[in-house]
């Protein structure tokens, strides 16, 4: 198969052709600034608001005014947490988990140097948190609880409705980083009592450089990006019109396809896992078997190393990612897999496949055929192996 097989959609997704088409006018003739007085600019505001409605609809939000456009998921996370801390200055305690994305984790670590106290909830070997541990830590000083909706590495979905309910009962602001979940599973903010929710465009076939933050009506909010009066004074900066329009279209498309994501893609993912479990020994799937995103599969191969597996896959035009130390950019392997206490032997040999609605069954079959010989070859080179340790 000469065509590339892209199985790294949790890293980023292809910009949908319809999205790109919708963006073009705003990168060519329709370049007006929505804040301008003249019609050339002012009429653009309507396009921004239309996109806002589409985002609100995908999230099942009660009102489009609950949506703020940002530049990315990281900005949404930063805004949610910092706005809350600034809105409740007397509270200095933050609760989050050990498996959050670095946008939340590194921000929390930074806030600790600034005098905030942060509790990082543990996860079990399935990647799940213990709700009683959470209940035990919430105090009068707790400003915010930030727990991701679904984990980017394993796809594990947290019991977010329950956590949101606990937070609400205790009067604590609840934020969820739903960057990986939005577009893959259905959302209904009228039913999910979260105060703040982050999402990112390039995870659902919109371009990179656009995100959104859901802020429930009535939530105390202090701007993070301070500047002009865009986004009703909540996020300064001239709107990235083209990408906003693109995000709107992407949300419409995602809303239509979200049921397909739940069934067809899940079938493909399950087929991949079942086939590999049969063909490859010393192999495991990481994360709770059922409470997962339908497209994600985190796997561990003993005795061999992740980067080597990825490069061999790359030779076969297959794109995936890994949690090994060599691929992390630092020298330490995935903090998520480590927090799950998965044995090091499997972490170093971990690979993540993440599919999308554009993934075909043919592509999945190609992965199934390609992976076993790669694993075998690398195991021949490895000094470790069944009984050889």
């Amino acid at each position: 198969m000469m065509k590339k097989v892209y199985a790294d959609n949790n890293a980023t997704t292809m910009t949908a052709p319809e999205v790109f088409e919708a963006m073009k006018p705003y990168l060519t003739g329709e370049y007006g600034n929505p804040s301008s007085m003249h019609t050339f600019g002012g009429k653009i505001q309507k396009k921004v608001d239309a996109a806002r409605e589409s985002v609100a609809e995908l999230l099942g939000a009660s009102d489009p005014s609950e949506i703020i456009f940002t530049s990315c998921g990281t900005e949404s996370d930063n805004t949610a947490i910092i706005s809350t801390l600034r809105s409740y200055r007397d509270k200095r305690h933050i609760i989050t988990t050990k498996v959050e994305h670095s946008a939340v984790l590194n921000l929390c670590r930074f806030l600790e140097t600034d005098g905030y106290r942060v509790s990082y909830l543990d996860v079990n070997t399935d990647g799940m948190i213990d709700l009683s541990e959470l209940k035990g830590i919430i105090g009068k000083d707790t400003a915010i609880i930030s727990v991701m909706y679904a984990n980017n590495e394993t796809g594990v979905i947290f019991p977010v409705e329950e956590i949101a309910e606990i937070a609400r009962q205790r009067g604590v602001i609840f934020h969820t980083d739903a960057v990986q979940a939005v577009g893959k599973i259905p959302f209904k903010m009228t039913k999910l009592p979260a105060d703040l929710l982050s999402m990112s465009g390039h995870k659902l076939h919109a371009p990179k450089g656009i995100g959104a933050l859901y802020v429930r009506r009535g939530t105390k909010f202090t701007p993070f990006m301070i500047g002009g009066h865009q986004e009703h004074g909540r996020r300064g900066g001239t709107e990235n019109v083209a990408s906003i329009v693109g995000l709107g279209v992407a949300c419409k498309l995602a809303g239509r396809a979200v049921d397909e994501e739940g069934t067809r893609i899940k079938k493909l993912r399950d087929k991949l896992e079942k086939a590999l479990l049969q063909k490859i020994p010393d192999f495991r799937i990481n994360g709770h078997k059922d409470k997962r995103l339908p497209n994600t599969s985190s796997m561990g191969f003993e005795f061999i190393e992740g980067e080597a597996i990825l490069l061999r896959l790359d030779e076969k035009q297959i794109a995936a990612s890994s949690g090994s130390a060599c691929t992390s950019g630092s020298l330490t392997p995935s903090h998520v897999l480590r927090a799950m206490r998965i044995p090091f032997t499997f972490i170093q040999g971990s690979v993540r496949f993440s599919l999308s609605r554009y993934t075909s069954e043919e592509e999945v079959d190609y992965i199934i055929d390609s992976l076993p010989p790669i694993v075998e070859q690398l195991r021949e080179i490895s000094p470790f192996g069944a009984g050889k340790r």
Partner: protein, 285 residues
């Protein structure tokens, strides 16, 4: 995405000498799965001539680990044990055409496995035992002070980041970073040079052609061009022939009456200092 040379990619794609020698004359084992790399080297040595007749490896690790191990076996086949004992990690990296800085520790692993094998040939156990006086500085990756100082010395390391790239020390929890800084300061103080932040390379070994050329280019870019540019001038490396370096002055340097002096005092003296004493600089048009 790592910027690997073609040689690294080739040796990773088709590694040579994978395997284990039956009844080996020497075995060297380093690393572990937890560390993220491990190498088991086996050698066939002719006892009389002490020539390494065959070498095979098994590696757990990334592309540069596998390529470094394979490169090592290619390099030592045919050498005597004595010759092989002089191989450094820089030689392995040079054989590969270079490694990304963050992957230099893979070449260090190759060198250590070779040392362990040679020691084993001379009677020591296959797995390197820690000598009593060594102190573990980095607990995450089990790196001793001896290993860190050696890497600093042999690779002319100046910063903690470089030490991490070559030994992994400090790359885990980071708690040992102050200790690494201390070792760096102490080492360079003893050498009588400025210390942790200075960048002067002191090459004690004979340079390979590739290293020489790279070093000349680096020295020109780092030490010479900035001061010329601040006056509106510039310099271009045209050719290198043995110890003669041909350069071309550009910009405001062209009309400058003191250009000749610049050539000798700035350009030539810097190259003599940073690369080799025997360099002569000539201007070319």
């Amino acid at each position: 995405m790592w910027d690997y040379t073609e040689k690294v990619k080739e040796l990773f794609k088709n590694p040579r000498n994978v395997g284990e020698i039956k009844n080996p004359d020497a075995v060297g084992e380093v690393g572990s799965i937890i560390c993220g790399d491990a190498l088991r080297l086996t050698l066939r040595i002719d006892r009389k001539s002490e020539k390494i007749l065959d070498a095979k490896f098994k590696t757990f690790g990334c592309a540069s680990a596998i390529a470094s191990s394979s490169a090592l076996t290619e390099m030592i086949k045919g050498m005597t044990v004595d010759q092989a004992s002089k191989i450094t990690n820089r030689d392995i990296a040079d054989y590969l055409g270079g490694l990304p800085e963050e992957k230099m520790h893979c070449s260090v692993m190759g060198m250590e496995a070779l040392e362990a094998a040679i020691a084993n040939y001379r009677g020591a156990p296959a797995k390197k035992e820690m000598v009593g006086e060594e102190k573990i500085i980095c607990k995450c990756f089990s790196v001793t002070d001896k290993k860190i100082i050696r890497a600093i010395k042999e690779n002319n390391l100046r910063t903690v980041e470089q030490v991490t790239n070559y030994t992994k020390a400090g790359g885990g929890c980071g708690k040992c970073t102050p200790e690494i800084e201390k070792l760096l300061k102490e080492f360079w103080k003893k050498q009588g040079t400025k210390g942790v932040s200075a960048e002067k390379p002191i090459e004690k070994k004979k340079l390979t052609d590739l290293r020489r050329i790279t070093l000349i280019q680096e020295t020109i870019d780092r030490e010479i061009r900035p001061s010329l540019k601040s006056d509106g001038g510039d310099i271009e490396l045209v050719d290198i022939d043995g110890n003669k370096v041909y350069v071309r002055l550009l910009g405001t340097c062209l009309g400058c009456p003191t250009a000749g002096v610049t050539m000798k005092t700035l350009v030539e003296s810097k190259l003599k200092e940073f690369v080799s004493e025997d360099i002569v600089v000539e201007e070319t048009t």
